[in-house]
Symmetry: C2
Subunit: 212 residues, 2 copies
DNA sequence: GTCCGTTCGTGCACAAGTTCACAAGCGAGT
DNA sequence: ACTCGCTTGTGAACTTGTGCACGAACGGAC
């Protein structure tokens, strides 16, 4: 793979790629066989130049005068993002939020499968959910290591989040999806994305109510 | 308010402010009365210069040699973000996701209160939840207008999301928290923030597995 | 085979955001 | 009252990301 020869791709570009995949998939499913960067652009809400620039980091995918082949571009980006396989994920916290995440259909058709669930509460430990059982957070590090899990989801209260993150990282996790409203301190090789609806809402009130 | 005289504050600055509020609140609750930009910076994981620059868009809040008064800076930013009041919010979609959102404790202590819930499914309509009842999506536009709601949460399937967004916007909504995996097309005065765990995960797999 | 409309990939200029670095200001200690 | 250590607020330099604009190339029509 040319992976090692593309060292300096901005993270912001990587963050847009899933959007391209999603949109291309929708187009392909509607039997649109070709798209120009222009078409894609206003479907997605970015400029055509940006799409072309983003893609140019990884190679040449289009044909002049024709545009991009919908399905094959989708597959190319899927491969770049390594979404052409299934990733096992560890979920920490089986309270109401953890419950909702575990039952979320949407992981199913995607490239992610919850492969282990951990909770501090001994009452919940052992309780089975489909294939897997709830484990004690004591075994988190070792179990994550045993299963080769690289992705963790944190759905525990803020006060415990850092501790849980540390345990995950010790086990080999390098990507964390953090539902706790706290800034995790992690080594530079670990990536964290925040899911925080309150935060998101708080970034919008600033603009409200300034007359119509 | 000096609001009208601060026209050009970058959105990215606004997005960081809630983080400052959250962190300052935590510090104040731990009886830390003063913070320097340096302290705050490594609590939050940004540079001290950035914090000082961000704040400078809004005025002067610190004292040389001393730093910032934790509580009063927290309150100042809270006011800037207009979080010193309660905002009524409309929730569209009362499936399992909508359920989880409606029951989410975390809205409680924040500045947001779910003031109306809508669903397309007639079976759910009428079903009460605490103070409020589920309404038909038919009344969405008029009810949102009647209650003066400016914030909407979309928790319906992707296929219906655009339609729901339009109805909300017609009713006067200017800020949307979108849980549906689709790019909403909205007029420029409407702001949308995405909550999409799958997307978030997909932006991290790129970096995984490249040896240790 | 040539023309013509379309669309890509990219050099370059521009814009936006971040960091540096320092003068000014505060307060504690003497 | 003066000194000294510390920390702010901000001009200026720098870095990063975006958009423009155009040469090259593809394919259909004639």
């Amino acid at each position: 793979m040319a992976r090692e020869f593309e060292p300096d791709i901005p993270d912001i570009v990587i963050r847009r790629l899933p959007l391209y995949v999603r949109t291309l998939r929708a187009l392909a499913d509607s039997d649109v066989a070709n798209v120009s960067s222009d078409d894609l652009a206003d479907e997605i809400g970015v400029t055509a130049a940006q799409i072309r620039r983003d893609l140019s980091y990884f190679g040449k995918f289009g044909k002049q005068g024709k545009g991009y082949d919908t399905r094959s571009l989708e597959q190319a980006i899927t491969q770049i993002l390594q979404l052409d396989r299934e990733w096992p994920v560890a979920l920490a916290g089986f309270g109401s939020l953890g419950h909702a995440i575990a039952h979320y259909r949407g992981f199913g058709p995607s490239s992610f499968r919850i492969a282990a669930i951990f909770d501090r509460n001994p009452d919940k430990v052992g309780e089975p959910l489909g294939e897997i059982a709830i484990l004690s957070d004591q075994c988190m590090t070792s179990e994550i290591r045993r299963l080769g899990i690289e992705i963790g989801i944190i759905a525990v209260p803020a006060a415990e989040a850092q501790e849980v993150a540390n345990a995950m990282i010790d086990g080999g996790v390098q990507s964390i999806l953090n539902y706790a409203p706290i800034v995790l301190k992690t080594p530079p090789n670990v990536r964290v994305r925040e899911i925080d609806p309150i935060w998101a809402l708080q970034t919008m009130t600033y603009y409200l109510g300034v007359g119509s």
